[in-house]
């Protein structure tokens, strides 16, 4: 490991690699700066990877969307509870937290989905489902 080379951590939710921060080590609990997921990090043969905390539970998805909203400065309204229920339904029936307003059950539509991570809220004032809103 050379100090000039920035190490990265693989996030199993958004499938991106985010930068390793100072002070982190094996077993640290960190928040993915791209999707908001809470991860326990460890070093594998292929480099650093994050492990989803409370995987598949309502706590996981609530922590993730709250984390994402905090990172981006977005707010929620009363649709949030219906959407969390919809996300739980997706997990039960389709195996992960896919967008409750879409039919596509693929990684790029794992909530917060790729369009949202790519700036849909800035563009339209809200995400496709109306979970995340730009601050008024």
């Amino acid at each position: 490991m050379s100090s000039s080379q920035v190490e990265r951590i693989y996030c199993p939710v958004c499938l991106a690699k985010f930068k390793f921060s100072e002070g982190w080590s094996e077993g640290s609990v960190v928040v993915c700066p791209i999707c908001g997921e809470r991860l326990t990090i460890s070093k594998s043969a292929d480099g650093w990877v994050g492990d989803r905390i409370d995987k598949g539970t309502e706590k996981e998805i609530r922590d993730r969307i709250d984390g994402f909203a905090e990172i981006r400065g977005y707010v929620f309204n009363d649709v949030k509870e219906d959407i969390v229920e919809g996300l739980m339904g997706k997990y039960k029936r389709f195996g992960d937290f896919y967008c409750p307003c879409r039919m596509e059950h693929v990684p790029e539509y794992q909530c917060p989905c790729k369009p949202t991570r790519g700036g849909d809220v800035e563009k339209n004032g809200k995400c496709h489902c109306g979970l995340f809103w730009k601050k008024a």
């Binding site: 649709v79 219906d82 959407i83 229920e85 919809g86 996300l87 339904g89 997706k90 029936r93 409750p100 307003c101 879409r102 039919m103 489902c129 109306g130």
Partner: protein
């Protein structure tokens, strides 16, 4: 109440606006048929998705069909108008 037409709601079981549309229709005692597209088996699902796409030009839900009127998304004003309520 004008309910001469058969009313069909195409929805996703997980989508909050689909739920709102159903709730709205229930609250107004509208009789309708509803299809949760995500819960259909694969071949039936493809068939219905095709149909929805032909009718609306996209795969967005809910879709409410009242006679010849097609309402995409949860829109209480349009529902009221289409249903005379």
């Amino acid at each position: 109440m004008a309910e001469k037409h058969k009313i069909i709601v195409y929805a996703l079981s997980t989508c909050p606006y689909c739920k709102r549309t159903k709730r709205f229709l229930d609250a107004h005692k509208v009789v309708y048929e509803h299809v949760d597209v995500d819960l259909l088996d694969d071949s039936k699902q493809d068939e219905v998705l095709d149909k929805v796409e032909k009718l609306t030009g996209r795969k967005s839900f809910p879709v409410v069909i009242v006679g010849t009127e097609i309402i995409v998304g949860h829109d209480e004003q349009k529902l009221k108008k289409a249903l005379n309520i």
